[in-house]
Symmetry: C2
Subunit: 210 residues, 2 copies
């Protein structure tokens, strides 16, 4: 501290935490005005830290995903084989989400709902996860997995096949049916079976009369 | 018609249709009283057809799932090979859901929400789908698929890996990223790769430090 006033970074953290407590208590989104009056902060300070209304929400989203980003970067930096890496990539974030869900299911539901309503503020984090997953897919393909699939095709199929482990809301209705063990089997299945070859499940005519 | 009064079966159909129109217009659940006053039906007739308040909701749920049940029974009765059968089992119901979603996305969202809030009224249909899927898994295992997995384990893993195609709400945010072609690849992947063998994605120690 230089004595020149409060540190803006720690002040921002304090405001974000206060805003999150208010969201968890009220069950709905919080505006800068509500944060100032509800939290006893000077309105001018709140608006100095968050010049636009959306800046407050973005800071909350950033705080939510900071752990996810750290996990993805850590996993990408390891020298694990591709199947291990992909498991850790999904499993560690899943475990983090589950901890949050079990710590406060009602608050977790509120964040899921806010994320869904304001999906445009969350999209960049989904895109970042896809970007890292593409890197992982390329590494796996270099070792022979997902043969013949374009990276974008593999990306979409893998995201769909692990959907309950990346779609946070699934915890609210599947929780105990989701496990690291099952996720491990799913990743094993992907590495053993996912490729461009048509093995006939769809049939030659697509949907047809019985 | 015998002339002895309105046919109770067709009267029930008429009331269910009216109730569904009201749900789609108002965006929330409808009571017997609201159906009677809103639809101009004598309260006594509505209560004769639906003796309990839950009977009306149950009739709406039954109407929603009747097409699903017909599809599952038709597919089970075919002599298609197990991989084709499993694809049709999921794909035909997915296409039916997608038609409903695209015909009226707002109404579809309301039904998803009601189904989620009153999940105990929907559970028997989920259980029935699981029952049929177990039959399919047993047939597939008789031909060598899903080796070493208990039927219940295979059931849970398969449901999780096709989750976006059976979780109706997924249409509301994934729609055009879901396709019969991708579902075909997923079913191919299941038949090629899903078994009890541990191929190492999870590692020997589960989650571990990088």
């Amino acid at each position: 501290m230089t004595g020149a006033g409060p540190d803006p970074a720690s002040e921002k953290v304090r405001l974000v935490r206060a805003a999150m407590r208010m969201i968890e208590q009220t069950g709905h989104d919080v505006t800068r005005a509500a944060l100032a009056s509800g939290g006893g902060f000077p309105r001018a300070r709140v608006e100095a830290i968050f010049p636009e209304e959306t800046d407050l929400f973005d800071a909350i989203v950033e705080n939510w995903f900071v752990g996810h980003i750290a996990i993805m970067e850590e996993v990408l930096a390891t020298d694990l084989p591709p199947n291990r890496k992909m498991f850790e990539f999904f499993a560690r974030r899943f475990v983090l989400q589950r901890e949050r869900f079990r710590a406060d299911p009602a608050a977790f539901r509120v964040y899921c709902e806010l994320g869904s309503v304001h999906f445009e503020r969350v999209r960049s984090y989904v895109d970042l996860a896809d970007h890292y997953l593409c890197e992982l897919i390329a590494q796996a393909q270099a070792e022979g997995a997902f043969e013949g699939l374009a990276i974008d095709e593999a990306l979409s199929l893998i995201n769909q096949m692990v959907h309950p482990y990346i779609f946070a809301e699934a915890l609210t209705y599947l929780d105990h049916r989701l496990s690291e063990e099952k996720l491990g089997r799913i990743v094993d299945t992907l590495f053993a079976g996912l490729c461009a070859a048509d093995r006939g499940a769809r049939g030659v005519k697509g949907l047809r009369a019985a």
